[in-house]
């Protein structure tokens, strides 16, 4: 275990946390270039501020916070540009029809995530896919742990709404129309 007051070399922070932060940025942005750019600019900001960080601080949460701010700025910058889904992204399904149906649903979920307020979207990814506690997520998003939990919950509630409207596993004409309008 590192000593309480240990302050690692900056390069050690890269070794310890860059992979995880890149995955986080990729999940939020779903774009290779943007997630790599955000990763570099987040670490550059961290590098410039690192002298002022006390020894023994929670560097991981601090880096997440900087990375999250970068992602948020990036998402704002590209507001209105529809999300790109990789062609090879496949939801498992029994038949070709099911597969097509699933893909339509996948796009719809992706679009609904795009419409979520940033904190809800980030809280969802951080809690479900980055394995962070609500205390940590609160620290990263600048909220209380309770508010972080509420953000993740709200995100899921809104996404569930998509399915309730349509009935279990059915895509209605209304959904199709909304989807097509969305992808233009």
């Amino acid at each position: 275990m590192p000593a309480q007051n240990h302050k690692p070399e900056f390069a050690e922070l890269v070794d310890a946390h860059a992979r995880e932060l890149h995955a986080f940025l990729w999940r939020l942005l779903r774009d290779q270039n943007e997630s790599e750019d955000c990763l570099q600019s987040a670490f550059l900001k961290a590098f410039r501020a690192y002298d002022r960080m006390p020894a023994g601080a929670n560097y991981r949460a601090w880096l997440y916070k900087i990375a999250s701010n970068e992602a948020r700025t990036q998402l704002r910058r590209r507001a209105g540009v529809p999300i790109g889904l990789d062609d090879d992204l496949r939801a498992p399904a029994a038949t070709v029809e099911d597969q097509a149906e699933r893909r339509l649903r996948l796009r719809e979920v992706a679009k609904a995530i795009e419409r979520l307020p940033y904190k809800q979207r980030a809280a969802l990814v951080l809690s479900k896919y980055q394995d962070l506690s609500y205390a940590e997520i609160g620290e990263i998003l600048g909220t209380s742990p309770e508010a972080a939990r509420a953000n993740a919950y709200q995100a899921l509630r809104k996404l569930r709404g998509l399915f309730r409207e349509a009935g279990a596993g059915q895509v209605t004409d209304q959904h199709r129309a909304r989807f097509e309008e969305g992808v233009r």
Partner: protein
């Protein structure tokens, strides 16, 4: 499938795998290169005993920058400090992979190196020469003239010899596999000179004169 389960499945399709491995590796490598640019850093370690004597190894965040025959740490550190403008730190962790692979190699337990090399301190010409030397397989030899031809400078055999003599990472970049046109083992600047060169080539099973 109910809505809840389907939502969960679709979220997993979008998020569970994370970035493709190649994208993650390249993002990490590019970030390390950037950090090395913002804050050049060097670490070193040593292999006190080996069949070719003591070895010292230095690495940057990008790869191995120096291998030196001998045990004079203070002189090694001072040379690195002058060449790179930063104070190297002794670090078992950072230099460990390079030290271990060198140890295995000179003991005949490893055939090739699986290490990034950072030739950032070399000129373009020297880098081309070193890359061409790296392409000479274990157990084979090339002449200075052949290396010169391979890098598109067929009349530069002498310059190739000089570039190889200044190889910052001997053994890992196998300049010992490059010999004179008549097959004789001309100079080697590391260890016991030509005797060390012969020792490395014998270890690799090369037919030498």
């Amino acid at each position: 499938m109910n809505g809840e389960a389907e939502l969960s499945l679709l979220l997993d399709v979008l998020y569970a795998d994370g970035p493709p491995a190649a994208a993650a590796e390249s993002a990490l490598a590019n970030l390390r290169a950037e950090v090395q640019r913002w804050q050049p850093q060097l670490w070193y370690g040593s292999l006190p005993e080996s069949p070719v004597g003591s070895l010292l190894v230095a690495v940057s965040a990008l790869g191995v920058v120096a291998v030196e025959f001998g045990a004079n740490e203070a002189r090694f550190v001072e040379r690195l400090r002058q060449a790179f403008g930063v104070q190297p730190h002794r670090s078992g962790d950072r230099a460990d992979a390079a030290v271990r692979q060198l140890e295995e190699y000179v003991a005949g337990k490893r055939n090739t190196f699986d290490l990034p090399v950072d030739l950032g301190g070399c000129t373009d010409f020297q880098r081309k020469v070193l890359e061409a030397a790296t392409a000479v397989p274990r157990g084979r030899l090339a002449t200075y003239g052949e290396i010169a031809a391979r890098i598109g400078a067929p009349r530069a055999a002498r310059a190739v010899g000089q570039a190889l003599a200044r190889n910052p990472v001997p053994i890992i970049v196998p300049c010992h596999r490059v010999v004179a046109a008549d097959g004789s083992l001309t100079g080697y600047s590391g260890g016991a000179g030509v005797e060390t060169k012969a020792q490395l080539l014998r270890l690799e099973g090369a037919a030498i004169r």
